[in-house]
């Protein structure tokens, strides 16, 4: 698993270019092409009540977007990265997912790339839909965030996201794939961290002996993950947590000063997703760090 082509959908937020530029280091990990993608919402130009379609308006928006993208392309070109522009009319979420599959990209970059309210989630509804439905690894980029930490308001710029990644694993197949993706980024990583959380549900429902057995087994598995990373030339450190899974992952990420969280994500059924959301999706919403979700 290697990131050679990434899809960068944008609505031209205030720090989107910074966010894009922060990804240019991926060139050293094999990135060849960036697809810059803009969706003109159908409602902006279509279904004028009793009127039809605003063709001229669509053309005007296309031209504006093209000019802005061409400016961005200069920046990418200076870093030796090829890029292409795609502009479509439609609905953002399905169009992003469709174009990602059609163009066979290895990574989709989504998410709020600007300051967000410190009491709200770090992902919007469109981002949540994309990470829930994407069959392609998706990075929830959070270039500039504001959040509450120990009673203080903190503003953080996530500009060197691949330096200290934290892999949160539940030993699933997607977690394995997340590990492989992490290994493919070896040229960019200063130190990696691997964590696993023994959830409240497990610790509540079993006796002490069984808990010790699981603890021992988890530590051994964490060591194996770290060994694989070290074998690929990446310094790695294991961490075992216990308690509420998401809060533990966030606590560990802060303790080790991680720059990003990587997680495998499994497709749950619609009811489960509707009422609960998966751990990975909730982690993406609650952590202030960029979150790379690998299906």
């Amino acid at each position: 698993m290697k990131i050679e082509r990434l899809l960068f959908p944008t609505k031209f937020g205030e720090v989107d270019l910074n966010s894009l530029e922060s990804l240019s280091v991926l060139k050293d990990a094999g990135l060849k092409e960036v697809i810059l993608f803009y969706v003109i919402p159908r409602e902006e130009v279509g279904f004028v009540p009793y009127g039809g379609y605003l063709k001229q308006e669509e053309e005007r928006i296309r031209e504006e977007v093209r000019i802005r993208f061409e400016d961005w392309q200069k920046s990418l070109s200076a870093k030796g990265i090829n890029s292409r522009i795609i502009i479509e009319v439609g609905e953002p979420v399905p169009n992003i997912l469709k174009i990602a599959e059609k163009e066979k990209v290895n990574l989709i970059v989504v998410g709020k790339k600007k300051k967000v309210a410190h009491d709200g989630p770090f992902v919007g509804s469109n981002t949540l839909q994309i990470i829930t439905r994407s069959k392609i690894p998706t990075l929830v980029s959070k270039y500039l965030v504001q959040f509450e930490h120990e009673g203080e308001s903190v503003t953080r710029t996530n500009d060197a996201i691949f330096k200290r990644p934290l892999l949160a694993t539940d030993w699933s197949e997607p977690s394995e794939r997340a590990l492989e993706l992490l290994i493919s980024l070896n040229g960019l990583i200063e130190k990696a961290f691997v964590c696993h959380v023994i959830g409240v549900k497990i610790s509540k429902s079993i006796d002490k002996t069984e808990l010790h057995r699981i603890e021992k087994e988890s530590k051994e598995r964490l060591e194996k993950y770290c060994e694989r990373l070290k074998f690929a030339g990446i310094a790695a450190e294991p961490h075992l947590g216990a308690g509420r899974t998401i809060m533990e992952i966030i606590r560990i990420s802060r303790d080790v000063k991680a720059s990003m969280i990587i997680m495998g994500t499994t497709g749950k059924d619609r009811l489960h997703d509707f009422f609960l959301g998966s751990v990975s999706h909730r982690a993406a919403g609650m952590s202030e760090l960029p979150t790379l979700l690998v299906p």
């Binding site: 159908r42 409602e43 130009v45 279509g46 279904f47 004028v48 009540p49 009793y50 009127g51 039809g52 379609y53 605003l54 063709k55 308006e57 009319v89 439609g90 609905e91 399905p94 439905r133």
Partner: protein
């Protein structure tokens, strides 16, 4: 839920007005004629003089001034003109425009007629607008979950069959539903054809309008008639009219398409590789079950009589309330059981139905004075229209011509009220409709056919017209302008068809 008692606290005259049931009719007309000279100026500043309000007016149709229909005209003219003159402004502000006209009429009405006006407002919202939007919304939601996929080659015969199927489906899934189901496959089938504009125009004629003439599900005006007491299957009386109109149009289409197909054959691209050919299939077929549920619910409400419930003082049949609940349930089931991908491939969006909901609350509120005056018959300020429109042929053409330029749903109601006002002045609405069907069915046929058929004459005649146009233009099919559509297509083709319909059925 507010009760009549609670409402009477808000508006002391409300209970009294309900009890009297408009039996107390006073002749304000002499005084009113004087006021009509002065009040147009006052109307803008302080509408419907509060002095007049204090007198109370149980039968408001007999005392409403002619200028009270101005907001209705303004609302309909806004729909007709803004998309032409200022489409971008209209696209972003149509809700404000609709709210403006609604407020301009509703507040003065409430000040002037207090409880009587409040009752009329509540009645039109609860008994007409909400069921109307629920039906349109449920049909739109359910049909949006059905996806026709596969490789279809747009030959003249295939296109004609598609149009015929769409025409037949329109009466059962609504003109909007049938149009949304078929327009994208129709456009895809003809993507390699050079001349596509005329195809979409005929699609608008047949699928988005004329096809919807057989049931109250087909076209909004017919559902409004159903809500007012026209039996569900009565509209099947329009079958001969529909067959003649659709038959002529399908034959014309086939001839035109064959001509262009032959002409284009030289430059047509090589046929697609057989290996890329996708078999024709329907996805989301479960939605046909929900569609049957909708048909069943509407039928049930037309047959069952389970007594009445009072909602905010407005009496509604329990079966109607149950019907609305079932329609919402069908839409909810469709949303839950249809794969998201199917709706996305259909480019399903709530925006068009939101637009209709926003615009129609304005239309329904502003049309109250017009309907009430017309229902007052010779005693109302629009008596001159009632006396001028006498024969079925008049109703067919006047309902039709106005439906072409104004939305056909309010136009239908307006002329239904005109006919009832002219033939059965003073009779309660349900009684008048029953008498109209029994004694003068040709009038109702003329109004129904006029409202449905003429909706195809312009882009603004019926809601699906603009949706089809928008989808076609987005897909790269050049569509004629507003006047181009009329001059090149609807006037030379449709008017000829309507003359034939007149000669056969309404002479």
């Amino acid at each position: 839920m507010l009760t009549i008692k609670a409402l009477s606290i808000i508006c002391p005259t409300f209970q009294e007005v309900i009890k009297k049931n408009y039996t107390e009719i006073r002749d304000y007309r002499k005084e009113f004629k004087m006021k009509t000279i002065i009040l147009p100026v006052v109307f803008l500043l302080m509408p419907f003089s509060t002095a007049f309000a204090s007198e109370g007016a149980p039968n408001i149709g007999e005392t409403l001034p002619l200028y009270s229909v101005i907001p209705f005209a303004g609302m309909l003219l806004s729909i007709a003109l803004f998309p032409l003159l200022a489409p971008k402004f209209w696209h972003h502000h149509f809700g404000k425009v609709s709210a403006f006209w609604a407020i301009v009429i509703t507040i003065p009405l409430l000040i002037a007629y207090k409880g009587a006006a409040l009752y009329e407002v509540l009645h039109i919202v609860l008994a007409d607008y909400i069921p109307f939007i629920i039906l349109l919304g449920s049909l739109y939601t359910v049909s949006g979950g059905i996806l026709l996929k596969g490789t279809i080659k747009g030959t003249p015969i295939v296109n004609t069959i598609m149009l015929a199927i769409g025409t037949a489906l329109a009466s059962w899934m609504g003109t909007t539903g049938a149009a949304m189901l078929l327009i994208r496959p129709f456009l895809r089938a003809n993507a390699n054809r050079k001349n596509r504009s005329f195809m979409v125009v005929f699609f608008i004629f047949l699928v988005a309008n004329i096809g919807g003439s057989l049931t109250p599900l087909g076209d909004p005006p017919l559902f409004l008639g159903f809500l007012r007491g026209v039996p569900f299957f009565w509209t099947f009386n329009l079958l001969p009219h529909m067959l003649v109109a659709a038959g002529i149009l399908l034959i014309m289409y086939f001839i035109l398409d064959t001509y262009f197909y032959k002409k284009e054959a030289v430059s047509a691209p090589a046929p697609a590789n057989q290996s890329t050919k996708e078999p024709i299939r329907l996805e989301g077929s479960l939605n046909f079950l929900f569609l049957l549920g909708i048909i069943g619910a509407v039928l049930m409400s037309g047959m069952a009589h389970w007594g009445e419930v009072s909602i905010l003082g407005v009496h509604r049949g329990l079966q109607d309330v149950v019907r609305d609940g079932l329609l919402i349930l069908m839409a909810a089931l469709s949303m839950f059981f249809t794969q998201t991908r199917v709706r996305e491939d259909n480019a399903f969006t709530w925006f068009p139905i939101q637009e209709v909901a926003i615009l129609f609350i304005g239309i329904f509120l502003t049309m109250i004075p017009c309907l009430k005056i017309l229902q007052a018959g010779a005693k109302g300020e629009l008596a001159f229209i009632i006396s001028a429109v006498r024969e079925p042929v008049h109703y067919f053409w006047i309902t039709g011509l106005l439906s072409a330029f104004l939305d056909n749903a309010p136009t239908y109601l307006t002329f239904l009220s005109t006919a009832m006002g002219g033939l059965y002045t003073g009779a309660p609405e349900s009684e008048a409709i029953a008498l109209l069907i029994k004694e003068n069915p040709l009038y109702l046929m003329a109004i129904s056919a006029g409202a449905v058929f003429f909706g195809a004459v312009t882009y603004i005649g019926n809601a699906p017209n603009f949706m089809v146009r928008s989808i076609a233009e987005e897909a790269g099919t050049p569509m004629p302008s507003f006047f181009g559509y009329m001059i090149k297509f609807s006037l030379p083709i449709l008017i000829l068809v309507f003359i034939i319909i007149t000669l056969i059925f309404f002479r």
